[in-house]
Each structure stands twice: as C-alpha cells, then as structure tokens.
C-alpha cells in the first residue's frame, strides 16, 4: 500500500477499496477512477494551471493571490495559462487550447446562467483535473440562496419594484436584441435556479470554504508539488480537500460537556464571553454541522461559524444535521411530556429563518435544493 497521508482519511479508505498499489496516479476516465503509474503518465516538465470564475464575488481569485510568496514556488513547476484576473487573456484563448491540455483547472463560483455553464464545460474539456474551488463551486454558496426564490420574482424585484428603479416601459432583460444598425446583441440566459459546479460537469476535487484559506491553499500546493516532483498519488476522485471532523474540533473556545440553551439570541443582544462556546451563550453557530479544515478563524475573532465549509463527510445535509443539533440543545425546564405539540412548535419558532440560517452556503446541494410552490394552506 502506498502511504496515503492522514490528512485524507476519506481518500485512504477509498484507495483501499479500489485496491490501489504502488505509486499510482489515477487518471480521469469517463467511467470513473483508474489508477496509473508515474511512468505511464505522459507529463511535460511543467504542469499547467487554469483559473476561471462563474457566479462568484471574485473573492476566490483574491484567495489565489493569497498564496503570497508561495505563488513563486508554484511557478517553478507550474505555468498559469489562463486566469482572467491575473493575466491578459481572452476566453477564446482557453477555447483554442487542445482538450485535456491543462493539468489542473480551478473553477470558482456557482453556475447561475448559460455563460457560467458553457465555461464550466469548456474548463472540463480542457483540464485533466477540475477542482471546484471555494464554497460556491462546491455547494452553490451565497449565490445559491437565490434558490429560496425564483427567477421571476428576482427580475420583478430588480427591474420593477425597487424604490430607485425608473422603468415606465417595463423593460426586462432580453437574451437577444438587434439594434438600429442591425447588430445582434446577446446576453447569457439567466437560469431559474443556481447550480453547484458538479450539477453541470464532472468534478475531480472539491476545495470548500469562502474563500479557501491560506492553509487550505498550502495543502493543495503540497499535493500538487508532491504529485509533480515525487510522484506521490493524488487523493481519489471526489475527495474534499479538508478535514473529516467537525469545526468544533478545531475551535478554540471552551465548552461544557452538555449544552443547554434557554433562549437563542443575536450577537448584538448580549455581552459576549470571548472564550466560551457560542451555542452555550445562545448564539446560533454552525460548527457542529460543518466540516473542519479552515482552522476556525471566524470563531477565534468572535464571529460564529456560518457553515461555508459544507457538511462533514458522514452526512447528506448540512442544514438537517444542524437542525437536529439546535433542536436537541434547547432547554426545557418543565416536564417535557406535559408540553403539547403546539407549545414545542412555539419554542422552535425562536429560530426565525431555519432555511437561510442552516443552508447559508449549501442550499443548491441540499436534498430539496430549492423552494417550490405547493397547494396553499387553508
């Protein structure tokens, strides 16, 4: 067995299942995983990297700049061939590359419109390994909260209803338009819902967090470097490059064995104890349902976890596991069997927006994925 490092227990288990032996790389095939040896791997001296964004705030581009001086180390064994933020390139430059010619592609941002989708597919064709970089590509992220409404409602609000909008003719965005001179103009189609990257294309690795931290970047860097220079195998396809534990494991705040909360409050409504667990103080913190690996920088500066790392590997749903945790820690002083169902429901009403709170970064990848319209309740 090759030494599969402790950072990726998921990966180690996976490798064992697949009977991986020797110093193998695995190759992406349409059917799934396929491990190959370094000698078989036809690799130029330097690897190539491409960066592309979808529906994103460009924070992940900044996270790449956050490689700091390590960016120079990276450049000793890698060439960046396409990165609109860093280089003067056009989309055609990427489209003109031969298929599979880029070693690693980082795609960040969700898939929100037809342009995002097209570029995600181009990236998939050009890159041997495609990485969903950052919370939006991983699970939909903040743009994914648009799944709590519909395209129709969003356009109505933005183009008709806001106070500052002056639109007497009711002009709405059009996908195609021909101007007086006869030029055809096009806009990407705006989808009814937001997708994560792997809803649209096959993804090899996921890098969570909003944005990926310096430590996570260094993890990727050492993985890539050892792959290129020492022939160490990459983790199996589908690995999430982070820890498998929950954030509470990395959080430095102290907590008692059992947590019991009388009333949930907002940060501004109490005097915060700077060393004590947020949940114990009645602040909703998504730590128990969130994957570790970021180093808990938020809780260290008195900001509760918002869940950008996504669910841990053992669960399907971040929101549902947080929901269970929250429901269990509310303290009930009376005999619980004397409470009626309605009283319990009223008690739970103190969580004002469970959907937006528990799925802040993962709504498109949740089981239900988006809101729907059902038969109205009487």
């Amino acid at each position: 067995m090759p030494p599969v490092t402790g950072v990726y227990p998921d990966a180690a288990g996976d490798a064992m299942e697949n009977g991986m032996t020797g110093s193998g790389y695995f190759r992406i095939t349409p059917g799934g995983r396929d491990y190959i040896y370094r000698e078989e791997y036809d690799m130029a001296e330097k690897i190539t990297i491409a960066l592309k964004r979808g529906a994103s705030c460009v924070g992940c581009d900044i996270a790449v700049v956050n490689f700091n001086e390590h960016l120079f180390t990276l450049l000793t064994y890698a060439d960046i061939v396409f990165a609109p933020t860093l280089l003067d390139v056009k989309y055609e430059d990427l489209k003109n590359l031969p298929d599979g010619s880029v070693t690693i592609g980082f795609y960040h941002g969700a898939v929100r419109n037809s342009d995002n989708e097209e570029m995600a597919k181009v990236m998939r064709d050009k890159c041997r390994f495609l990485i969903a970089y950052g919370a939006c590509a991983h699970m939909g992220g903040i743009p994914g909260l648009a799944n709590a409404t519909t395209r129709k409602k969003i356009l109505e609000q933005v183009y008709k209803k806001t106070v500052s909008t002056v639109n007497p003719e009711g002009t709405m965005p059009m996908e195609t338009y021909t101007d007086e001179a006869g030029h055809d103009l096009t806009l990407p189609a705006f989808y009814d819902r937001v997708f994560a990257l792997d809803d649209v294309v096959d993804v090899d690795y996921y890098v969570p967090a909003c944005p990926p931290t310096h430590d996570i970047n260094m993890q990727i860097l050492s993985l890539v470097r050892e792959f290129v220079e020492k022939g160490k195998p990459l983790p199996p396809k589908g690995s999430v490059i982070a820890s498998v534990k929950t954030l509470c494991d990395e959080c430095g705040r102290t907590r008692s064995r059992t947590i019991s909360v009388a009333r949930f409050r907002r940060l501004q409504d109490l005097k915060l104890d700077e060393d004590k667990c947020f949940l114990e103080q009645g602040i909703v913190c998504l730590g128990p349902a969130t994957r570790a690996g970021c180093g808990a920088p938020c809780t260290a500066v008195n900001v509760p976890c918002r869940g950008c790392m996504g669910p841990t590997s053992g669960v399907m749903e971040q929101g549902a596991s947080m929901l269970s945790a929250i429901a269990s820690i509310i303290s009930i002083s009376d005999d619980e069997d004397k409470l009626s169902e309605e009283q319990i429901e009223r008690l739970m009403d103190q969580i004002i927006d469970p959907l937006g709170c528990f799925y802040r970064f993962s709504l498109p990848k949740s089981q239900l994925g988006r809101v729907v319209e059902d038969v109205k309740e009487e």
Binding site: S114, E117, A148, R151, Y191, D192, F195, D199, V200, V201, D202, V315, M316, E317, G319, A320, S321, L323, S324, I326, A327, S328, I330, E336, D337, E341, I344, E345, L347, M348, D349, I351, D353, P354, L355, G356, F358, S366, Q367, L368, G369, R370, V371, V372, E373, D374, V375, K376, E377
Partner: protein, 152 residues
C-alpha cells in the same frame, strides 16, 4: 387529469410502538388504503430530518413519522427529541414551500391498531386532496444528464 393520482407515502414507524400498532392493525384485519410504505426504525428518534427530506426529494407525496406516546419511549426519551426536531423541521419545510400537511407526526402505541389505521387513512385522504408533491417534478429535472442543456 387522465390517470388517477396514486400518492406515494412513506411512514416511518418505531419498532416498539407504532410498528407493533401497524402489525395489530394488520392482524385485526382493519382496512387501510394501500398507498403507503412503512420503514421500520428502532426509535422514532432514529429518523433523521435528512431522511424525510430525502424522501421528498425522491418524490414522496407525504411523509409520516409514528412513534411511542410521549413518556412511553422504549429508550426513555427518544421521542422527545423527535418531537423537537420535527417541530423545527416543519417550519423549515414550510420555508421550502411545502404544504405542511404533507408531513405528519403521530403517536401510536402497540395496542392502538385502530388508531394506526385511522391516522394513515386520514393522511392518505389529505394527500390525495393535495395532489402530487411539487418536488416530484423538480426531482425529474434534477436527474437530467450532465451533457443535457439546462432548460429554464
């Protein structure tokens, strides 16, 4: 509508009370409409909210969780946990746009075969009234192949 609507309903039953109640309803030959499937769990607290959401994703038109009466849990306090979670889940399902009548929590003891038959029949009637779950349609769209273009 050309074909009559046949609802898909999942009933989670705890092993010690509700499942025994369902069994009693069976051996007592009580008439229950056939549109439900029982999933037996050791305790109603084993029913993770994500199971319920998964059921809806897979096109269930209604989900019922049935357990021991409060105070009667075989594991002393499991159903208290269930009750809390399901209350919070209900408010979240409402945010997802579901009619909350599609989800029901019931307490059925091992001796209440008659009650089991009644609540399940009631629930099925209500789901038939509501019609198919909107997540059934979404689900089909989610299952599209990756090379298919997104429509809308």
């Amino acid at each position: 509508m050309s074909e009559p609507f046949i609802p898909k309903i999942i009933v989670f039953c705890c092993n010690w009370c509700a499942y025994a109640g369902a069994d009693l309803a069976g051996v007592s030959r009580l008439q229950i409409k056939p549109h439900f499937r029982i999933i037996r769990t050791l305790c109603s607290a084993r029913v993770d909210p994500e199971f319920i959401m998964y059921a809806f994703r897979k096109g269930a038109d209604g989900v019922m969780v049935a357990g021991c009466h409060p105070g009667d849990c075989h594991y002393i306090g499991g159903n208290y946990r269930t009750r809390r979670r399901m209350a919070l889940l209900k408010s979240m399902l409402k945010q997802f746009g579901l009619n909350t009548d599609r989800f029901r929590l019931e307490w059925v003891s091992a001796s209440e075969g008659e009650k089991f038959a009644r609540v399940v029949n009631d629930f099925i009637d209500r789901i038939v009234e509501l019609g198919p779950s909107p997540f059934g349609k979404i689900n089909n769209r989610d299952r599209r192949r990756k090379d298919e273009p997104i429509s809308g």
